[in-house]
Symmetry: C2
Subunit: 221 residues, 2 copies
């Protein structure tokens, strides 16, 4: 029990705070961030979901951050924010498609992933995140070994032929500008922790490669 | 195993994604957000840390968001962001002390807490969060029952006599402007899920009241 002075019931307990090491011990594995990057249609979300499922079946504590769960909240568009907060607020903090917006999008995701890592979760993120500097800024914000960059490497023509959301077709038609791989660059990682040949293997095979890496890195035992 | 078409190895697996219900079943308890609000010096952080410790000892999955872990990352100041991202970016996204900044501070914390709730964590937050509208916006973003507002209610004179960080002294000396309770309002919750008499009980007693509430609300069994 902490030391308490009855004359001052609010004692600073910071020494008794639950630490990352405590949470990891309870979980039975380390926290980390597994950052999937690659072209639209490369299979990032599919592989990340498959990894999530395999880890879940092992009782591992995980979470998956992707466009689906950040787009309406943390990284909401100006249009969404304007309804509750007004136009000026929405213009400042809402995230559209400009360069600053893109950088801030990845910065916020990185900051949340870092917090989830601190909570002892194996945190999976699935975003195109095409710029090396944006990904490297997230890596630099974290402790060594906590950031596991996974390059989901599928050839552009394979991604474009899959075109799961019809985005390549729109980009080729000029309906989307600055589209990664078509009218904006994709900067492949120079030394990712893991590179997946995502044009020629099943999601299940790729997911097992990720798990094997986490084991060999000592994150999972 | 999911259905796979070997001619197109990247199959949409969204049906197999791990759900919140899955994560909660694995954890053995529900996720939620326990939002501590109150004056500086009321004991928010102390009680939240005590709750965190008690839950940890029961094997519950938790996390605590407070100024210590968001101030340098997710909600970094303009000064911190300027180093890496430049001045224009820092002015737009960095959070200082203006009204918009304060609203965005709480909005981002709320969005992250909601994600952590979805991850099956009992997520504790400890911020003064003096404005009702800011707290209510977080509540409105979440499902019914997920947001547990805890008013850490200690009289101003008690908080000021504790003055753990010397902030009241500075505020009275005019060195801090718009300081909650001195030169800016604190809007107490009108119907919080729980109100703690934090001027007259020990942190341990108050923490046990929070745990009892979580049990009676069916979040913990």
């Amino acid at each position: 029990m902490p030391n308490q002075d009855p004359s001052d019931p609010i004692v600073v307990w910071h020494d008794h705070a639950v630490t990352r090491a405590d949470r990891e011990q309870l979980a039975g594995h380390r926290g980390c961030v597994v950052w999937f990057t690659g072209l639209s249609g490369s299979g990032k979300s599919t592989v990340a979901n498959a990894v999530d499922r395999l880890l879940f079946e092992r009782g591992v504590r995980t979470y998956l951050l992707d466009g689906d769960n950040v787009r309406h909240g943390l990284n909401a568009t100006p249009q969404i924010l304007a309804e509750r907060y007004g136009d000026e607020f929405a213009r400042r903090f809402g995230l559209g498609f400009g360069q600053q917006d893109r950088e801030e999008n990845i910065r916020r995701v990185g900051a949340v992933a870092k917090l989830m890592c601190d909570a002892g979760l194996i945190t999976l993120t699935a975003f195109v995140s095409p710029y090396r500097s944006d990904r490297d800024a997230v890596r630099a914000s974290m402790d060594a070994g906590d950031f596991v960059e996974v390059f989901v490497d599928a050839p552009l023509d394979v991604c474009e032929s899959r075109d799961p959301k019809g985005l390549y077709r729109k980009a080729r038609a000029g309906e989307i500008k600055d589209f990664t791989g078509v009218s904006a660059p994709y900067e492949a990682p120079e030394s990712p922790e893991l590179q997946l040949a995502a044009g020629s293997a099943t999601p299940d095979e790729l997911a097992r490669q990720v798990i094997a890496h986490l084991e060999s890195a000592g994150i999972l035992s």
